[in-house]
Amino acid sequence: MRSLSRAVASFVLATSIVLLTACAGPTTSSQDYKRKAAATAKAAASEVATASVGTDLAVRARATASYLDVTFSNAEDGLSSEQENFSSRQPPTPADDKTRDQLNNLLSAALDAVANSRIAARRGDVEALRAGQPALRKSAKDLQRFEEAVS
């Protein structure tokens, strides 16, 4: 019986640890807000870079349609999730509103660029994919610059 209760306690502890590490913590200062903004920009740049590689693969016919579809959808979902998480954070001071606006604009531009690529890929429109490549590259670069600026 004691072994069983220990087992239950271990399970509860493990679940608590997972929840604790999975939850977004509060933003306590401007510095903390900037650090979280930088982390969001880095994660978003990764998603845009993935979509950019996906576009390149699609243009050169080096990947299957299903794979590209999932890759673009994942990148789009990842970006939406990053934007949602960041938007839900309270900027600690009015001075942080600028950081918030800047990153939100970059994330929106990134989402548009990735969505355009996803739509073109589903249509098999290679020309539109090719035309969307500069926007993806610019978006990834802008996010990287932002990350470096606020880090």
């Binding site: 004691r2 087992a7 399970f11 990764s46 590689v53 693969l57 299903s66």
Partner: protein
């Protein structure tokens, strides 16, 4: 010739069966973020799994009994039960990750949302466990898993600067922008992925399923000491592809699709298709192994009839437990929790549970009452004890590091 073929088949299945969703995700994630600077963690993990898998195989061959069969008898019911619960939780979590991995692989191949595929995967895993002969399921998925070699081919085709690649692997350092706690956290994750407890449950129970005797000790050793290190090389290849293709582009791995990106970039459509087959084979094979391992460990502890060497009717509780575990595993993935996140947590919790799995194996392999002349020698004991210390340190550090780094952020 037949014996040689059998040995070759064993080695190939050990190589193909080594990689699972934990290795796929963790190796790629770490390669994209830390380059090859954590390759040492895979190497240490592979040596560790070789040491303890050899022992568990020897125990099975000499005693004709599997690990959990002996743990309760040798360590008593209380320690045995704690051991059982920990291993069932960790293996159950790994099973959920593998089922998610199979569904994600099929999603990449078909474009159908993985959540719609999960119930089918759960059903297929159950049917294969229920209907297919042990040797057949072991060999088919082990051999099919060899397709993961496509990652090694991608590294070769990429034509990297080999000296720089090897140098970065043998002169580990924490990359700029990363903290030491995060570096150590991922070292433990790689170590946990390489030494996942279910691998030894499955290996030793498989030995009993295949009626190993003392004559099979050599074959078992060859399988372990050749098959596992070669399997480890495939994990290193996955890490290398990520370090070469993803890291320079700033891509962090958060999905199975990203794991396949380097292969598509280097080898194109054909390479990508082989990689997707490999994802399916390795994760499906591991889902079979983890599902069976949960059944093995519980049935062996309670003394139920178990295994596929008897008809399902004669091992009904074993098969019922496997079925229930599969339903729970599929249910966890159906909650829409990210399967890649489940994988990341499962490898770290595996590391936490490692001492509970490996300490009893060392105790039993040392006991002359069970092992007779085949008990551990001095050298074996020294190496195993060193590893037990490493395993214990990793186990103790895993949770604090998980909390301190917010699971590797």
């Amino acid at each position: 010739v037949k014996r040689l073929l059998g040995v070759a088949l064993g080695i190939l299945t050990a190589i193909g069966g080594f990689v699972d969703i934990g290795d796929l995700v963790t190796s790629s994630l770490v390669g994209a973020r830390f380059g090859m600077s954590l390759a040492w963690a895979i190497i240490v993990g592979v040596v560790g799994i070789c040491v303890f898998a050899e022992m568990s195989g020897r125990v099975a061959a000499v005693t004709g009994r599997a690990t959990f069969d002996l743990v309760r008898e040798r360590l008593g019911p209380r320690a045995g039960f704690a051991n059982l619960i920990a291993s069932m939780l960790v293996t159950g979590l790994t099973l959920a990750a593998e089922i998610g991995g199979v569904a994600l692989a099929l999603e990449l191949a078909s474009g159908i949302n993985y959540l719609l595929i999960v119930p089918i995967v759960g059903f297929l895993v159950w049917v294969v466990i229920w209907r297919v002969r042990f040797s057949l399921l072991e060999n088919v998925f082990g051999l099919l898993g060899l397709t993961i070699i496509v990652f090694a081919i991608a590294v070769w085709k990429f034509g990297p600067d080999w000296s720089s690649l090897v140098d970065s692997a043998f002169h580990p350092s924490v990359p700029s922008g990363e903290g030491h706690p995060t570096y150590l956290y991922y070292a433990i994750a790689l170590f946990g992925a390489a030494m996942t407890p279910y691998e030894v449950f499955f290996f030793s129970s498989g030995g009993v399923e295949e009626h190993w005797s003392e004559e099979d000790i050599l074959t078992s050793r060859i399988n372990v000491f050749l098959g596992f290190p070669l399997g480890g090389l495939l994990s290193l290849s996955i890490m290398a592809t990520a370090a070469l293709v993803l890291q320079p582009r700033g891509i962090e791995v958060g999905s199975l699709a990203q794991v396949a990106v380097p292969v598509a970039v280097v080898l194109g459509k054909l390479g990508l298709i082989v990689a997707l087959v490999a994802f399916f084979a390795t994760t499906f094979g591991a889902a079979l192994e983890t599902g069976l391992s949960v059944g093995y460990s519980c049935a062996q502890y309670f003394g139920w009839q178990w295994g596929k060497f008897v008809r399902p009717l004669e091992a009904s509780r074993f098969h019922l437990l496997v079925l229930v575990t599969l339903v729970i595993g599929a249910g966890v993935v159906l909650t829409s929790v990210d399967p890649v996140k489940v994988t990341e947590y499962s490898v770290v919790f595996s590391a936490v549970a490692l001492p509970l799995t490996y300490f009893p194996i060392l105790v039993i392999a040392n006991d002359p009452d069970y092992m007779g002349d085949h008990a551990n020698g001095v050298l074996g004991n020294v190496i195993a004890t060193i590893f037990l210390v490493v395993i214990t340190l990793a186990s103790l550090a895993a949770i604090p590091l998980m909390l301190a780094t917010k699971a590797g952020l």
